[in-house]
C-alpha cells in the first residue's frame, strides 16, 4: 500500500474550521494524527476515517481524507463493512468512551474479536462531553455529575481489560498531550495486521478538567507512569520482580495484569500478537470459491439443477 508520494501534515487538514472547545485534548490528537499520516506513505484517497457520535467523532470532518461521521456507537460496524468490502483501504475509527464503551460496546468487542483491519482510536476523557457532562462508563465510581448529583453508582470499565477479554490482537494506551509517545503508538498500531485498539487519555477541560494531570505533570508523571517498551523490563511495583515486556506473548495474562494496573499507569503497547485479519480471511474465501468453482455463471445459477422446458 505505501507509495512514493510525499505528503505533509498540511495535506491532511481539511478546509473545515475545527470546532472543539478551546483547550480540548482533541486538538492535540488531531495534530498528532495529521503529523503522523504522511509517514504512512498512503495516498489520502486510500485512507478513511469513520466515527460515531460525540465530541471526538467530529474528527473525520477535519481530515482531508475520505470520511464518515455516522451514528452513535456504530462506527466499528460500519468500518467493518467498509474494510471487508475494500481491503485495499486504510480504515481508521475515531470514537470516545461513551460511543465505544456504552452505546456501541457490542460493536467494539466484536470488531476486536474478529480482528478486522481497523485502527480504533478511543478518546477516553472519562466523561460525556457533547451531552454536557454526564458520567461515562469509564468515570470513577462516585463521580458527581449533572446526572449523578449524589455520585455515580456503577463500576467503570477498564477499556484495555475489556479489549483483551474480547480477544483484541493489539492493545495500547497513550496520552493526548504527549505527542512523541502518541505518534509512536500510532505508528505501531498502523503497522499492525488486524484491529488495533489505542486508548488515548484525553482531557476534557470543560467537564472533567485535569483527569489525567498526575500522568502529565512533570513533577508527578515519572512516578505515575509505567512506560512500556517491548523487550524492556518493568516492575509492577517498586519492590516487585522485573518482568521483560513481551507484546507478542500469546498468553494474554501479563498484558491483562498490566491492563488492571493503576499505580503506576502503564502506557505504550500492552499487546500485539499476530492473527489473520478478518477482511483478509473473508476475501481469501471469496477468492478460494472462484478458484474452486470458477467465477460465478449467472445463467447457470438462475437455471438451477431442476428445471423443465415448456414449448410454445
Amino acid at each position: 500500500m505505501p507509495t512514493d508520494i510525499a505528503l505533509t501534515p498540511k495535506d491532511f487538514k481539511s478546509d473545515q474550521e475545527v470546532r472543539w472547545c478551546p483547550g480540548c485534548g482533541d486538538y492535540a490528537i488531531l495534530a498528532a494524527v495529521q503529523g503522523f499520516m504522511p509517514e504512512l506513505g498512503i495516498a489520502r484517497e486510500n485512507i478513511v476515517f469513520v466515527s460515531g457520535i460525540g465530541c471526538s467523532s467530529r474528527f473525520p470532518y477535519y481530515m482531508n481524507t475520505y470520511g464518515m461521521h455516522s451514528v452513535h456507537g456504530r462506527a466499528p460496524a460500519i468500518a467493518t463493512g467498509l474494510a471487508c468490502a475494500r481491503p485495499d483501504l486504510s480504515v481508521w475509527v475515531v470514537t470516545g468512551d461513551g460511543d465505544a464503551l456504552s452505546i456501541g460496546g457490542n460493536h467494539l468487542i466484536h470488531a476486536l474479536r474478529r480482528n478486522v483491519n481497523l485502527k480504533i482510536l478511543l478518546f477516553n476523557n472519562e466523561i460525556y462531553g457533547l451531552t454536557k457532562g454526564q458520567y461515562s462508563p469509564t468515570s470513577e465510581r462516585g463521580k458527581i455529575t449533572r446526572s449523578t448529583p449524589m455520585g455515580s453508582l456503577d463500576e467503570p470499565f477498564r477499556p484495555l481489560s475489556l479489549a483483551i477479554g474480547a480477544e483484541a490482537s493489539f492493545v495500547a494506551r497513550t496520552i493526548d498531550s504527549d505527542r512523541g509517545h502518541l505518534t509512536d503508538v500510532l505508528r505501531q498500531a498502523a503497522a499492525h495486521q488486524g484491529t488495533a485498539l489505542v486508548e488515548i487519555y484525553q482531557n476534557c477541560n470543560i467537564f472533567n478538567d485535569g483527569a489525567f494531570d498526575t500522568l502529565k505533570n512533570p513533577a508527578t508523571r515519572d512516578d505515575a507512569l509505567l512506560r512500556l517498551e517491548h523487550g524492556r523490563p518493568y516492575r509492577l511495583a517498586p519492590d516487585a520482580e522485573e518482568i521483560v515486556h513481551d507484546v507478542e506473548d500469546p498468553d494474554p495474562t501479563a498484558a491483562f495484569t498490566l491492563s488492571r494496573l493503576r499505580h503506576p499507569t502503564p502506557i505504550g503497547v500492552l499487546r500485539s500478537v499476530r492473527r489473520p485479519a478478518y477482511d483478509q480471511l473473508m476475501n481469501r474465501q471469496t477468492a478460494g470459491a472462484v478458484a474452486e468453482r470458477g467465477p460465478g455463471d449467472l445463467a447457470a445459477l438462475l437455471a438451477g439443477t431442476d428445471s423443465w422446458t415448456v414449448r410454445g
Binding site: M68, I78, G81
Partner: protein, 624 residues
C-alpha cells in the same frame, strides 16, 4: 392380484402433508413439489410450521404442515382447503381436520394412534373408530410398521428405519398422483451422499410406498392432473420459493450492476434463508457478513456501500426496528442500500413463522425526522426475483436506501418460474464519480443530477474526491455541516422530492368488462388470493376491477385517478388497514379496508364472498 386401479382425471388438487416437527413434512412437501413442477403442473405452496424447532412430540403446537396446490391450469394460491390430508399422527389429524371439506381423503398413519398419543391431543377414543371421520374417505395405513418392514434388511436400527416413513408416504402419494420419481431418488442419493446406507434406505422406503399404492386394494383410485401447458410462457422453468428468488435477484442485480454484493445480516426468521443462500455464492464475489446484531448488519452493509458495493441487509420486522437509525443515516448520506424485510406476525417477537403485512407503516415512517425511503413489495414467490432487481435499480439510480417488503408467505411458498435470460435483465450499471465536479477543480459530494436529484457516488480510492459525509445536516452541494434554517428546510424538501420523483410504472387496472364500479386494490403477497377471488366473482357474473401495487413509495402517478374512477375501492390487507390509511391520507378517497391478521394468507373463497358483497352493495347504491 387386485383389479387394475381406476385412474381419474382431475384439473386441480390440494394436498396437505402434516406431522410432527421432526417428521420431515417440509422435506416431503418440497420433494412432492419438485416432482410436480418437473411434471409441468402449475403449482403454489404454503409451508406452515411452528416457531419451535422441536415442540414436544405428538402435541398440537408441534404440528408442521406443507400444503401444495397443483393444477393443469394457471393457479394463484396454495388452495383454501385440502382435497387430501396426510396425517402422520393424531396431533396432525386433529390440528388439520377443521380445514377439510366433507368428502376429502385422509391418509392416516395408524401406528401412531396409541391411547397415549390420542390422549396428548385430548381424544379419549380413536377418531378412526368412533365415527369422527365419517364424512371423509379415510385410508388407514400402518406407515411406520410398513416402513420398518421394508427396511428390515437395511442394517439400520428400527428407530432409524422408522425415520424414513415420510419417504414411504411420499412414495404412496407419488403413486396416487402419477408423479415422476427419478428426481426424488436422485435427490436422496445426493442429500445422503456421505451416508449411502441412509440414501438407500430412503429410496427403498420411497419405492415401498409407491408399490404399496400399486398393490393395495385400499387405494383403488389414482389420479392424473395433466401438465398445465397453457399456464406457462414458453421457455425453461423451475420451481422457486420467494426467499430463493429474492436471493437470486440480489446476485443478478449485483452482476448487472457490475458491483460486488455485500450482505450484512443477523439471523432472523423468516429471512435467514437469504443469508444461507447468498453464503453459497462467494464465487460471484458475494460477501456475506453475519453480524453481531441487526444494527451491525445494516451498518456493515452501509459501510460497504460507501466503499462501492451493492450493500444489502436482510431481516424481519423486529430487526427493522433496530435498524431504523442506520436507515435514517443512509437517507442522510444518500447512499444506495437495500433493506429487505421478510415480514412476520407482530408486534414484538409476534409470530416468527407466520405471515403478515403489518410493517408497511414502519417501512414508510419508522424513523426520526423526515426520512423518506422508497418502498416496494413483490406479489408472488417468483416475483421476489424481479422485485429485488427493481429495488436495486432504485437504490443505485437515486442513491437511497430502499425497502423491499416480502413476507413469510412469499418467503417459504413456491411456484414455477420462467427462468429469464441474463440478457433480458435490466442493465443496472452505475458510474462512480471519477473527477472533480466544480469549475474550480473541487469536488462537491452533494452536487445533484438535475434529473434524478441523486448525488455523485465517489468511492474511497478515487484521488482528488476526498470528502466527508455524515448524519448531521449538511449544506446542499458542498456537503459541509450546516445548521442554517433555510438550508435544512431546503434539504428536507429536496430529499422528499428525490423520492417522490422516482420513476415507477403506472398502475395497471384489470377491468375486463370496463364497467366495474368496485376496484379491489392489493399490495404484496395478497396478489394470489385477491386474483383468485376476483376470478371467482367474475365467473359468477360479478363485475369487479382489480389492481395490485408493486410500488408503495412513491405510488404510481396514476393511482389517485385510478381510485377516483371507481365508486368503491376495497383494500384487503394482512394488517389493520395500513395501505388503506395511506390511500385515504394521500388521495382523500374513502377506501374500504378488509383485514385479516391471523398469520395465514387470505383464503380465496372467503375473500370472494367479501368482494361479491362489496360489488353488490356498490351496484345497489345507484349511479355515481
Amino acid at each position: 392380484m387386485s383389479t387394475p386401479p381406476t385412474v381419474k382425471q382431475l384439473d386441480r388438487v390440494v394436498i396437505r402433508f402434516a406431522g410432527d416437527s421432526g417428521d420431515g413434512m417440509q422435506l416431503t412437501g418440497d420433494r412432492f413439489t419438485a416432482e410436480t413442477a418437473g411434471f409441468g403442473n402449475d403449482l403454489s405452496t404454503l409451508p406452515n410450521f411452528p416457531a419451535e424447532i422441536r415442540a414436544p412430540a405428538g402435541t398440537l403446537p408441534g404440528v408442521s404442515s406443507f400444503q401444495l396446490h397443483f393444477a393443469d391450469h394457471d393457479i394463484l394460491t396454495p388452495g383454501d382447503a385440502p382435497d387430501i390430508l396426510v396425517a402422520m399422527n393424531p396431533a396432525a389429524l386433529r390440528a388439520n381436520l377443521a380445514d377439510l371439506p366433507r368428502g376429502a381423503e385422509i391418509i392416516v398413519n395408524t401406528d401412531e394412534f396409541s391411547r397415549r398419543a390420542l390422549a396428548k391431543v385430548g381424544w379419549s377414543a380413536s377418531p378412526l373408530d368412533d365415527g369422527t371421520l365419517e364424512a371423509y374417505r379415510v385410508h388407514p395405513v400402518a406407515l411406520t410398521t410398513l416402513t420398518a418392514e421394508a427396511l428390515k434388511d437395511s442394517g439400520l436400527t428400527r428407530k432409524d428405519a422408522e425415520r424414513a416413513k415420510n419417504m414411504f408416504a411420499l412414495g404412496l402419494l407419488s403413486w396416487m398422483y402419477h408423479r415422476p420419481t427419478e428426481g426424488t431418488e436422485r435427490f436422496l442419493r445426493t442429500k445422503f451422499a456421505r451416508r449411502p446406507e441412509l440414501a438407500e434406505a430412503n429410496v427403498t422406503a420411497f419405492r415401498a410406498g409407491w408399490n404399496y399404492g400399486e398393490t393395495t386394494e385400499s387405494f383403488a383410485v389414482s389420479y392424473e392432473v395433466a401438465p398445465a401447458e397453457r399456464a406457462f410462457a414458453p421457455g425453461r422453468h423451475r420451481n422457486i420459493s420467494g426467499n430463493l428468488a429474492l436471493s437470486l435477484g440480489l446476485v443478478a442485480a449485483a452482476e448487472r450492476a457490475s458491483l460486488p454484493l455485500f450482505l450484512g445480516s443477523y439471523p432472523i426468521t423468516p429471512a435467514s434463508d437469504i443469508l444461507h443462500e447468498l453464503s453459497k455464492h462467494k464465487n460471484f464475489g458475494v460477501r456475506t457478513f453475519q453480524a453481531e446484531d441487526e444494527i451491525a448488519g445494516i451498518g456493515a452493509a452501509l459501510g460497504a456501500a460507501f466503499g462501492g458495493a451493492l450493500g444489502v441487509t436482510t431481516t424481519s420486522g423486529p430487526g427493522v426496528a433496530l435498524k431504523s437509525e442506520t436507515i435514517g443515516l443512509a437517507v442522510s448520506l444518500e447512499l444506495p442500500l437495500l433493506v429487505v424485510d421478510i415480514q412476520r406476525g407482530g408486534p414484538s417477537t409476534g409470530l416468527p413463522t407466520k405471515t403478515e403485512q403489518a410493517d408497511l407503516l414502519q417501512a414508510m415512517f419508522g424513523r426520526n425526522g423526515e426520512a423518506p425511503v422508497p418502498v416496494l413489495a413483490p406479489a408472488t414467490p417468483a416475483d421476489c426475483f424481479t422485485a429485488a432487481l427493481d429495488a436495486a435499480r432504485i437504490a443505485l439510480t437515486y442513491r437511497t436506501p430502499v425497502f423491499l417488503l416480502s413476507d413469510g408467505y412469499l418467503a417459504n411458498g413456491s411456484e414455477p418460474w420462467r427462468i429469464p435470460d441474463v440478457a433480458e435483465l435490466p442493465d443496472l450499471r452505475v458510474e462512480f464519480a471519477t473527477a472533480p465536479n466544480r469549475p474550480d477543480g473541487s469536488f462537491w459530494p452533494y452536487q445533484r443530477d438535475p434529473e434524478t436529484l441523486a448525488r455523485p457516488w465517489a468511492v474511497p480510492g478515487t484521488p482528488g474526491l476526498e470528502h466527508r459525509i455524515g448524519g448531521i445536516e449538511k449544506q446542499d452541494g458542498t456537503g459541509n455541516i450546516s445548521y442554517d434554517p433555510a438550508n435544512h428546510d431546503h434539504m428536507v424538501r429536496l430529499r422528499q422530492a428525490k423520492v417522490d420523483g422516482i420513476a415507477v410504472p403506472d398502475l395497471e387496472v384489470d377491468d375486463p368488462s370496463g364497467d366495474a364500479r368496485l376496484l379491489v386494490l392489493g399490495w404484496g403477497s395478497t396478489y394470489g388470493p385477491i386474483a383468485a377471488a376476483v376470478s371467482e366473482v367474475r365467473a359468477a357474473g360479478g363485475r369487479v376491477a382489480t389492481a395490485h401495487l408493486r410500488h408503495l413509495n412513491p405510488f404510481p402517478a396514476n393511482l389517485g385517478a385510478a381510485l377516483r374512477r371507481y365508486d368503491r375501492v376495497l383494500v384487503p390487507e394482512m394488517n389493520l388497514g395500513q395501505l388503506a390509511l395511506l390511500l385515504r391520507a394521500r388521495f382523500l378517497v374513502d377506501v374500504r379496508s378488509h383485514t385479516q391478521v391471523s398469520g395465514m394468507p387470505f383464503k380465496a373463497a372467503q375473500l370472494a364472498a367479501v368482494i361479491e358483497e362489496n360489488a353488490k352493495n356498490t351496484e345497489a347504491t345507484g349511479a355515481h
